[in-house]
Symmetry: C2
Subunit: 378 residues, 2 copies
């Protein structure tokens, strides 16, 4: 793991959403400077509510809260900081935790000008973002993602929400952050498997949107696996750029454009579900799912075999699985039929036509899908 | 109470909100036709979830659900209708009820194309609207208001939400309905006091926005008190028109324009709170509050005394209170200071300059406010 700092290097991505536009700042040694970024970007901040994942409370949330509290602001006065933490893990994305946090914000005297800062992975971002969307019918919030998946995916795009006992992400709001602050050094404490899992979504952007970025990933895979800050900043910035441009065209998932972000995901959800939740991390299932999708595209004559070759090599280089020995089309197909991408009982897939470009294909033959699954069963 | 039908007369108001624009249809004998309106307006409806106040379940929700279920739609097929009821009263605007309804929608197989229909007063509209805003990050909903307050106020404007134990309406979303269906005959079962209370908001629109409408109200007060369908349709349409135009300029309460709807309300909230909740109905407190606000405007030289005279006569003609013998400035002022309209510790009020026009005045002297309260203490 590379720990040398790269100096004041920073990358910036703008998410273009009219009056809801915002910036993503990507640095490698700036957590200390996050307080300044928040103050500079948001203007009239007098009360900040920090909501952190327990796993990063000590290491990242406390220093950020302290920096906010002691920020020198002249006549603007000190910032009042409230802080709470949330138990790590998906079960915190519940209505019970949502309610607890809303009552906490109220007890802390939150008003329409208060700002929520979410410090954690996708769980905390989704949960705290939904609290921000709902309190006083919407207050500002800042994402400080601490997992690679959150940096390249969940903290960009404005989807916030919680789970129902029977349905994941079924309750929520589209609510854009005012600012996203990424520091790659935060990833130093992230376990390997979780880190590598995030790389699957990075590869996804290369395949669906950005062939040049795919080239870059091929030549820098070992740097990324070693968590090299410079390579990471570039990969995160390009990933966010891709997601931001898709989201900018289809903010509320109405035009269908946003669906391209689901490349590999119809298969992945079926893999996660039939393997039993917890067997694969999400990114691992996405890696295998992208392989199945690419295989399906080749079988349907939509793209040539080199795409799958290159994708396979890159996934392997990133330490992720490319096949699943236990894949069972009989178990996976029913799950896929229940997926959101199914319209009128017909399977629909995001499939690559070449590196950097995908098509939405409806009306796909079940037999072809089975074939693709079986071919990746190695 | 007038019960004679007025034939197929209907009024329509458009709420202009770009791609969130919608229609308010106001009729007097058309509940039977609501199913057709929903189908015609919303297009691809295959699943409707009716959420009704227990008090109107039998009389209004059941027939509507039955009409939806038996609608003749040729090849479009039958509509699947799910139905539930909610206990009457403000306590239903809770996170617990919000959660129950979300799980119910999920158990009923609700998806992104399902439509929620709220049948009830402001409580049901706010609660069911917030469920619609949150399920699958937002599904369509239709308001079928059954109180006069809901017809002229809460069902227009897109504010949805629930209460925290310590803060009313503190959690929610801006989420516009797709359609609002008003049938004045629904009001036949509404108790007198609740009905008259709704007239206070109607008078409010005349004062803040529409002098000609104020004239109309003066000459038709007895028709309105008698619930004459024609007068009611006109009064509801003009009220909705006023609210719609304000909301169209300030959908999310950011420009300040929407604040004019709070005429009389800073006083009213203090009256409701110091009298003890339940002593006054909201509209009764608003009536007295508008009197205090008009008095304050006169004392500050902002408008002349005839405005208060005419307002007093109209409020009396509508069977509402114009004074409060127990008004206590020492008790009311602290409540008003905590109100949202206070900025930097200074009281701010929406005050009339003449009939049909108001100004937002900040920096008002506490003594003047006390004076106005005491003058209405008769
Ligand atoms: N909103 C969106 O657009 C979107 C997109 C994709 C995923 N998601 C959601 O994101 C969630 C998954 O996100 P995730 O993978 O970040 O999971 P997560 O938030 O649960 O984090 C994974 C684990 O890492 C720990 N952790 C976080 N940061 C750490 C750090 N710096 N060092 C050490 N440990 C750390 C957490 O405590 C947790 O145990 C899911 O709930 C998913 O639904 C949302
Ligand atoms: N969203 C907004 O913009 C907005 C604006 C104003 C008020 N509100 C909210 O609206 C609520 C008050 O609305 P409300 O006054 O309609 O109260 P409500 O919904 O509680 O209805 C009042 C009573 O009348 C009963 N009822 C309803 N329709 C009836 C009918 N046709 N016949 C007989 N009984 C009937 C109800 O059961 C209830 O007991 C409050 O929660 C308030 O916060 C919201
Ligand atoms: Zn994913
Ligand atoms: Zn009111």
């Amino acid at each position: 793991m590379v720990t040398s700092s790269q100096g004041p290097a920073a990358e910036c991505v703008n998410v273009p959403l009219a009056d809801r536009s915002y910036r993503i700042e990507i640095t490698s040694d700036a957590v200390g400077g996050f307080a300044d970024s928040i103050i500079a970007s948001l203007g009239d901040v007098t009360h900040v509510l920090v909501i952190a994942d327990q796993a990063v409370e000590q290491s990242w949330a406390n220093p950020l809260a302290a920096a906010l509290e002691s920020a020198e602001r002249g006549t603007a006065g000190a910032i009042r900081v409230s802080q709470t933490s949330v138990a790590s893990g998906e079960t915190s994305k519940s209505i019970a935790e949502f309610e607890r946090l809303l009552q906490w914000v109220s007890a802390e005297g939150g008003d329409r000008r208060s700002v929520i800062v979410a410090v954690g992975g996708g769980v905390i971002g989704d949960l705290a973002g939904y609290v921000a969307a709902s309190y006083a019918r919407g207050i500002r919030f800042v994402q400080v993602p601490t997992t690679l998946l959150a940096m390249v995916d969940s903290s960009v795009g404005g989807k916030t929400g919680i789970n129902l006992p029977t349905a994941k992400n079924m309750v929520g709001a589209f609510w854009q952050p005012s600012l996203v602050l990424v520091d790659t050094s935060v990833l130093s404490t992230l376990p390997d498997r979780s880190y590598l899992s995030g790389l699957a979504e990075v590869i996804k952007y290369g395949v669906i949107d950005d062939a040049e970025f795919f080239d870059y990933l091929e030549s820098h895979a070992s740097d990324l696996v070693a968590r090299d800050p410079k390579a990471l900043r570039h990969a995160i910035a390009r990933s966010c750029q891709s997601k931001a441009s898709v989201v900018g065209e289809d903010e509320r998932e109405t035009s269908g454009r946003r669906a391209i972000l689901n490349y590999g995901h119809t298969f992945a959800h079926a893999i996660e579900s039939t393997a039993g939740y917890g067997t694969f991390l999400h990114g691992e299932a996405v890696a295998i799912g992208m392989q199945m999708a690419a295989q399906l595209a080749i079988d349907l004559g939509m793209c040539d075999a080199t795409l799958l070759d290159r994708q396979t090599k890159l996934i392997v280089a990133c330490g992720l699985p490319t096949t699943w020995a236990d894949a069972d089309p009989d178990a996976m197909l029913p799950v896929m039929m229940r997926d959101k991408k199914v319209a009128h009982g017909k399977l629909r897939f995001i499939l690559p036509t070449r590196l950097g470009a995908v098509d939405l294909l409806g009306d796909i033959d079940e037999a072809a899908v089975r074939d693709a699954i079986v071919k990746l069963k190695k």
